[in-house]
Symmetry: C2
Subunit: 342 residues, 2 copies
């Protein structure tokens, strides 16, 4: 049953390049689809088909690539088998319910974040005929739990303190084991908190890190529920999208058997976020931030990582912003206009 686990990912062997994005209606999924449509190629190979799937039908980006969009719930029986039946070379598994929801609904969290991911890996395993796609799995820094060292190293243990974090870590373990056995070719990305998240707040408890920048940029007030001294680990949506693309293109032999990666990001305090907002946008924007301490959010945030030393990912070529000013400018360049129009 097991296949040759030493076989590296080589797009070269394929006569086509089919890409499947599960969770394509989400913020990152949509940006990834647009990025792939715009580039038209992955790993130097023209993308011949793009399949975009989510629990709500994703919007297809403007593209000359043949693109299918579909509404599908990976947690329902038969869906995973159907999705892999066209044998995509690269699969992005971004579908998940967010931390707040996974915490409030125990059963939904395990069904979506664990069982659905596992059903995807199982469908790939059982597809047969040496099918071994690159699977890029969106994990999270929520796999870590306090107490932390000043900077979290690549060999620091994962002791999640949320169900979401536990589910993501289990997904990583499955991904590495299926990869080791040659059943798929997986990479798990422990994404930093994406900032500035465009659009409306979702149910993630980390939402305020984006709110306090995005809302004032658009002239609206925002509420800061924690102290200015709170430090966290950030990446822009643009850099996060590039992480996904880079993970799809990486040479498997360079990665080794540990397939979950801590990624580069920017460690910044809320005060540093606000200072950058003042520099890039102005003091009027800063004055729109109101303070309303929330002990519940404060307690959650106290268990979150503040800083990393992601040497492996940097050696593998992953790159992120190094200044909060740049993270704000990315929003102004990529998302500001669309948000003003909507």
């Amino acid at each position: 049953m097991d296949r040759d686990s030493s076989r590296p990912f080589t797009a070269e062997k394929y006569s086509y390049m089919k890409v499947l994005i599960i969770g394509a209606a989400g913020m990152l999924g949509a940006k990834l689809a647009a990025r792939l449509a715009n580039n038209g190629a992955l790993n130097g190979h023209e993308i011949t088909h793009l399949a975009l799937v989510d629990v709500v039908t994703p919007k297809a980006p403007e593209s000359t690539i043949p693109t299918d969009t579909a509404q599908a719930d990976l947690s329902t029986i038969g869906t995973a088998e159907q999705l892999v039946s066209s044998r995509p070379n690269v699969i992005f598994q971004l579908a998940a319910i967010v931390s707040g929801e996974a915490e409030s609904d125990f059963e939904a969290g395990y069904r979506i974040n664990l069982d659905a991911t596992r059903s995807l890996f199982e469908a790939i395993r059982l597809a047969g005929d040496d099918y071994c796609p690159r699977v890029v799995f969106a994990s999270s820094i929520a796999v870590f739990g306090a107490p932390f060292p000043k900077r979290i190293g690549d060999d620091f243990h994962t002791t999640p303190l949320t169900s979401y974090g536990a589910q993501k870590r289990i997904g990583e373990l499955l991904l590495s084991d299926y990869t080791r056995r040659g059943l798929l070719d997986g990479i798990g990305l422990r994404l930093p908190t994406v900032c500035i998240r465009p659009g409306k707040p979702n149910r993630a408890a980390s939402g305020f890190f984006s709110n306090i920048l995005r809302e004032p940029i658009h002239g609206k007030s925002a509420v800061l529920p924690v102290a200015d001294s709170v430090r966290h680990w950030f990446v822009s949506p643009r850099a996060a999208t590039e992480f996904l693309v880079h993970a799809a293109e990486l040479d498997a032999e360079r990665i080794g058997p540990h397939r979950a990666l801590n990624l580069p990001g920017l460690s910044a305090t809320v005060a540093e976020q606000i200072e950058a907002l003042g520099r890039v946008v102005g003091s009027d924007a800063v004055s729109l931030i109101g303070r309303a301490p929330d002990p519940t959010i404060d307690a959650i945030v106290a268990n979150w990582p503040e800083n990393f030393d992601p040497q492996r990912a940097i050696a593998l070529g992953f790159r992120a912003e190094t200044a909060m000013d740049d993270i704000i400018k990315v929003y102004l360049e990529d998302d500001f206009e669309a948000a003003q129009d909507s």
Copy 2:
């Protein structure tokens, strides 16, 4: 749905002390059952009922405690619900298929080592009425994968390089998450390699560490498939049994949210094992060890941990042997006679 997660394990609140051992026909399970039957109490409370379950009917130890033995496969539907229906206060989950078998049979490994354990936790969660038993989960140092530091610290990452190790780590993550949510009160024990294992070799690749001592003790020849310089991490069956009992009696408040523990053990080389055999048993025994290097076993063993610095478990009162001579003497005291008679 969630219960009070701050509630510590307190046997005091129960009018009875029922104990369930799943995997009671295994070597450790049988020793644990005998130990509990002999002591008659757990956490200072008289054991009022002992339930022993395995895929083959376990033997009941001699005891005045009312004891039930049953053949049951936790991986079959409805079994977990049935086992928890009598609401045991303490559950030992020792059932697993060993590393070699989990590696050769992918589906059986995940079915038994992941799904069956999860079905137990689910049955506990759904039992209702604030049922929150202490669950002692037998994990393994197989949750770790090379490369290692000289001594593995309590915050070293778990990157298993076997399916068995991945399955055990997933079990730990579920255990911690269910515990954090107050659904059960779990402790995961990363057991060192048990040595000297009594009885016939099982399918664990680590079997030779016991074989090269046990067989010569009984005047039989044994084969050493690796170099004398190989170093590994050991505990006697007696100390491993005491780990299980100690874990059942620990005050939950002392453990904290990270419920998987690296345990104390003895780091020793094969050469040190053989020297101890010579000291305790004699040079005739040593001469019964033949060398037959096996590159396959050698490659597996190269990915195993050699040494730990288990500060948390030591602070929590777990104790193990500190000399290989003592490990051999434990076998002579606890298992030699029964093996000669059989």
